[in-house]
Symmetry: C2
Subunit: 242 residues, 2 copies
């Protein structure tokens, strides 16, 4: 059966992808993805055919992948971070229903919750929730409800897409919701440009985070009730006695 691959690149360049992903990229004919991520791979995998579509053309990008695979090519759709978490594997499987002769094989990657967590220390050692603040595909009311219930459940929370040019104040709005439930001194952290030049980690209280400057390359972490700062790192204990 002909296969098309959806591969998570992990953060930054190709150093943080898993060895299986690297092997598939080395063996493939065609690499397809969002322009920014494909450009990171051009020098790492020379001699491949590179296809891109801009943001908002995600469905077209998937169709292109299946069309190329139908021609007998070994095609890889690349995603930043994981192939699943806010990635393309879901849409590939939805669109793949029209191409039953092609199997969709998903290769996971290290999503920003894990890679950013590693930079900060250990914010997600225990139960956690992941929430995107992008309301491009999700109603804001639903995002708000998820934040509030995640805080009530005492999850550590990892926030993706905390801001963009069109929504500069979304993290502030999210913090205002969290502050209804959580104390203002709750330990939080941000990581910018994970695995890339300019990687920066910062710790805040929740009150300070409300006014922090973030952008579309920032991942945000809200501690749970046990989270503490140890030597400048953000640490959520698992509960071992020491």
């Amino acid at each position: 059966m002909n296969k098309v691959y959806v591969v998570g690149m992990g953060p930054g360049d190709a150093g943080m992808m898993c060895r299986e992903a690297d092997k598939i990229l080395q063996e493939c004919d065609t690499i397809i993805g969002y322009t920014v991520y494909v450009n990171l791979l051009r020098d790492v995998y020379p001699g491949k055919e590179f296809l891109t579509t801009p943001m908002t053309q995600e469905a077209r990008r998937c169709e292109m992948a299946f069309e190329e695979a139908s021609r007998g090519k070994k095609v890889v759709m690349v995603c930043s971070g994981d192939a699943g978490v806010y990635g393309m594997s879901g849409l590939m499987l939805e669109i793949g229903a029209a191409y039953p002769e092609i199997e969709v094989k998903v290769i996971p990657g290290i999503t920003a919750a894990l890679s950013g967590g590693a930079v900060l220390g250990a914010p997600l050692t225990h139960d956690f929730a992941v929430v995107s603040l992008s309301d491009r595909l999700t109603p804001w009311e639903k995002i708000e409800k998820r934040l509030e219930l995640a805080a009530e459940a005492d999850f550590s929370i990892c926030i993706y897409n905390p801001a963009s040019k069109g929504r500069p104040d979304y993290l502030q709005r999210a913090c205002d919701i969290l502050l209804r439930v959580l104390p203002p001194e709750r330990i939080c952290g941000t990581v910018e440009n994970i695995g890339r030049e300019g990687e920066t980690a910062r710790l805040y209280t929740l009150k300070e985070l409300r006014d922090a400057e973030v952008n579309m390359f920032t991942t945000v972490f809200i501690g749970n009730s046990m989270t503490k700062e140890i030597g400048g790192r953000m640490v959520t204990p698992r509960g071992y006695r020491i």
Copy 2:
């Protein structure tokens, strides 16, 4: 500054760890971890010193890592999946407070939510929560509350440690809590032995999952209100129009 590394191995053997993790393991002197995971690495990284402690000896394992690093060795503490998510990075940073001259460097890995999700298809494409059913270090009432609020928030939910010999009925108890909020026909999935021999994925309704057989090598996925089955795969749409 002397460093000690906490490295996530990803699922199964060494094929799913990131290239950076592999590089650090190749260069190190000493690999330390839980016996089962260290044994997976003995043949992959010959010539290293291997140190292990059994489960329940986690704090001692961390102390051993710092003691070896204090002697000038390059030490790697390995974790299955990610270094953070239910991993050792938190405890390493807590115990590391007594060794301020040694920096703890965390290298993330692919946790079962991502690797198991890739096998099932795309269950975690949108906001999600991760909950462990192990009540060894967490009161059961807290686990119960988290499950109920995660369901109310319409998160996809990934469940770690759904059962063990001492708690054979915990998934059933968790499903009973979820069924207070979610419909019995909600799409769910399980993956057993991710990335290892015997890897098996199964789809269920939530009602069927309640009576499914699971063990300590199973990861469980509960869909959100949009999750559907497409060609035998579990797919949570991100919301793109197609």
